[in-house]
Symmetry: C2
Subunit: 452 residues, 2 copies
């Protein structure tokens, strides 16, 4: 790799003139680069959990600035914004009757709290959201609501969307029907007693009640007792709190381009994580992959377009960092955007959403990505939670989709730790992003959509 | 299966006369029997965790008596004994410096306690027990000791013995050298943040200090920071307590034999479990497999020898139930003994330790077990923690060894739950035990060793 880099540096004119021709060579060199692994290891070890708005997230920003500067990026800076703060408290649960035993559960983001002494109440169980919605309020009032789901792994992660309503909506619906609390079978595809957190939303005017996710083995246990027809009583102690306004921020770094009029290529991942794990697959990997790929391009010579690497804050609580970036930068011309936020398993598909002028990119991407085992998708790029606003506003979007079959085993749990990342698959991601950047950042086409 | 059983019931004379000839048929019928699954499901659901000496273990005994009677066993009874009680309290840990973050840990059985406000102290790390043993006391005094290990899965479970010293001995050694507390990389082969508990032993006269196991991802985190050469400070709050004498007990059930002089065939598993999970693989499966196999023999007709099924109490804290059974019954003639206490994955090997008169059993066992994919071992049966005293005293022992490659992923963790058991592999276990019992309980040889 070192030899390869010297060779490239010896040909500055060729590189500056037609760097996109080197996309394949850069891609192959990236397969041997361990920059992404080192970033992921350092962020998960030296910062660890970094909840949106927390002191740890602030430390992560300072760490990120130092890291990105040391990697050689330019214009490294933090852009702060405010968010509504929430933090976890105690969380304990148990079956009191008919078969006393503890439960493994965790509060959902935005959960309300039980009284400090906890609550003990009958459980009323529903197999899914529709059954809860159909239930009369008197069946629910004064009780703890349980709602199941049957999430299974899907390569494209679509099960998260399909089954996600159980987490997003159940607590709000349950509160409206007078429930004391809501527990769900968490959105996870594993069988470990490490429950999956994630944000829930209470509709305007609805009182936030305590809301928690059970691990799959615990949900199985509840459902076995329900199947016996026995009345169930639960005890819950869940004491998170809303903290008022907290500061968060995005960390931005650049590889300056030679042609400012050609627009910015904005890529990144999110720096915040849930508080239970160390945020390795979600999303240390994403910030590491995109920065490592941008560095590959930077080290090979100046690209036509400026590559902007954005490590977003507060993605987990509703894409606040992405929205803050869009609001602040929407007048700047962006040529293309793409986020890495689906772990670190191998990229198996690329998706595009391109304006007509950018259409020729597809064939060039297909050619450079196929040797990595990456296939062309259906033209439905979203650019993730953080850069999605740009695609929805008409900017070109490119997704590099990771295999999602393992992702929801670990997602939003204490198990999201470094050991879940395979260095070889991580390097395949960096190679894919490097190849994509080599094509897109140097494309001769006019990629910036004129808006009016 | 039902049809098969009717066929056998229609031939009572043949069965009574030469039931060992039916070992293959009984074995094959057992492959379709779900009695063991139902026992495992019910015990893990309706009792759940059942720590030695606890109220839950007492409930498990009452549950077991009712279950064994309902299955048709005779002479069902409880034999109580006293044990030294210990119960878990709070357990929390965190890295305070250089990189503040919480740790997933759990107290080891017999652990002492920190003060109620916890402790905060420098960490001193050793790669293994030998390195701790070699360290001068001044390197350890007033600190929290960490000791690692490199346990990997082994099909025969031998890694537990090889690496087990880290759990059994480190806290005692650390206390003798003046450590405030000891944390180890737990004895587990998984990568989940569900730490592995298990008993530790303080030598006579050594003050019990707080002793806990980290999950593998947490141990990795500690070792990465150690590798950076940074001083580490930990905070620990671990408050288990010794409760004084508690009652435990064995539950015994029998299939009466036709020839009391031929000796008893004693088999079983242990009813107690660690408190973190629901004790599915350790050892609901073992009590279920042995009872289901004995029921297969019982339902086919009266065997020559009495089969005694023993569901032992307090195995986890040192084999107390097994010792109590031996002490109480050692004057009764036992023809052979065997315990199932290594999960529920498929049996891959059988081991024997046979007296000369019993030697012909080996070939018959080999013939009936080979169709289940079970191979002959090396003549080193131990009969497990609970029935081992009999083998050591000269009684014939037979082990049916399960595949141990997954066992220590789950062993002694909160993850020991019903979903870890594969019903097909469980049924293969029952078939193996049924075939073994058909041979041994009906063997024409004199199997009781005369002692003098």
């Amino acid at each position: 790799m070192q030899k390869q880099r010297f060779a490239l540096l010896a040909l500055p004119f060729l590189i500056a003139a037609a760097p996109s021709n080197d996309a394949a060579a850069l891609r192959d060199a990236a397969l041997k680069d361990d920059t992404a692994w080192k970033i992921t290891e350092a962020l998960t070890t030296e910062i660890g959990p970094r909840l949106a708005g927390s002191e740890q997230e602030a430390r992560a920003r300072e760490w990120a600035v130092a890291k990105l500067k040391s990697l050689g990026f330019k214009n490294v800076r933090i852009e702060t914004f405010d968010i509504p703060g929430w933090e976890r408290g105690e969380e304990r649960g148990a079956i009191v009757a008919p078969y006393p035993q503890p439960l493994a559960l965790t509060a959902l983001g935005n959960s309300g709290a039980t009284p400090p002494e906890g609550i003990e109440a009958p459980l009323v169980a529903f197999p899914n959201v529709a059954a809860l919605q159909a239930a009369p309020a008197e069946q629910v009032r004064g009780k703890i609501v349980y709602v199941g789901n049957e999430m299974h792994a899907a390569q494209d992660g679509s099960s998260y969307g399909y089954f996600g309503a159980v987490r997003r909506s159940v607590p709000s619906i349950a509160s409206q029907k007078g429930a004391l609390a809501a527990v769900i079978r968490g959105l996870g595809t594993d069988s470990h007693r490490v429950p999956h957190t994630g944000i829930t939303n209470f509709e305007a005017g609805v009182t936030p009640i305590a809301a928690a996710a059970l691990s799959n083995p615990d949900a199985d246990q509840i459902e076995r007792i329900v199947a016996q027809g026995k009345p169930i009583t639960l005890r819950l102690l869940i004491t998170p709190r809303r903290t008022g306004t907290r500061q968060s921020g995005n960390v931005i770094a650049e590889v300056p381009g030679s042609d400012p009029s050609a627009g910015i290529v904005a890529i990144g991942g999110h720096l915040d994580s849930w508080d239970l794990g160390t945020g390795a697959i979600d999303d240390a990997a994403g910030v590491a992959i995109t920065a490592a790929a941008a560095k590959q391009i930077m080290d090979a010579g100046r690209p036509r377009r400026t590559i902007r690497v954005i490590w977003f804050g507060s993605e987990e609580i509703g894409g606040n960092g992405g929205q803050a970036y869009f609001d602040r930068h929407k007048s700047e011309p962006h040529a293309a955007v793409g986020e890495s936020d689906f772990g670190a398993d191998r990229v198996w598909r690329f998706e595009t959403k391109l304006n007509p002028a950018a259409a020729p990119l597809t064939a060039r991407l297909e050619a450079v990505l196929a040797p990595l085992g990456i296939t062309k998708g259906n033209g439905k790029a979203s650019a993730g939670a953080d850069l999605g606003p740009w695609v929805r506003a008409g900017t070109n979007g490119i997704d590099l989709d990771q295999d999602g079959l393992r992702y929801f085993d670990v997602h939003h749990t204490a198990d999201d730790t470094l050991d879940k990342i395979d260095p070889d698959q991580l390097a395949q991601n960096v190679a894919a992003w490097t190849a994509m950047l080599a094509i897109v950042a140097n494309a001769p086409e006019a990629l910036v959509e004129s808006r009016d």
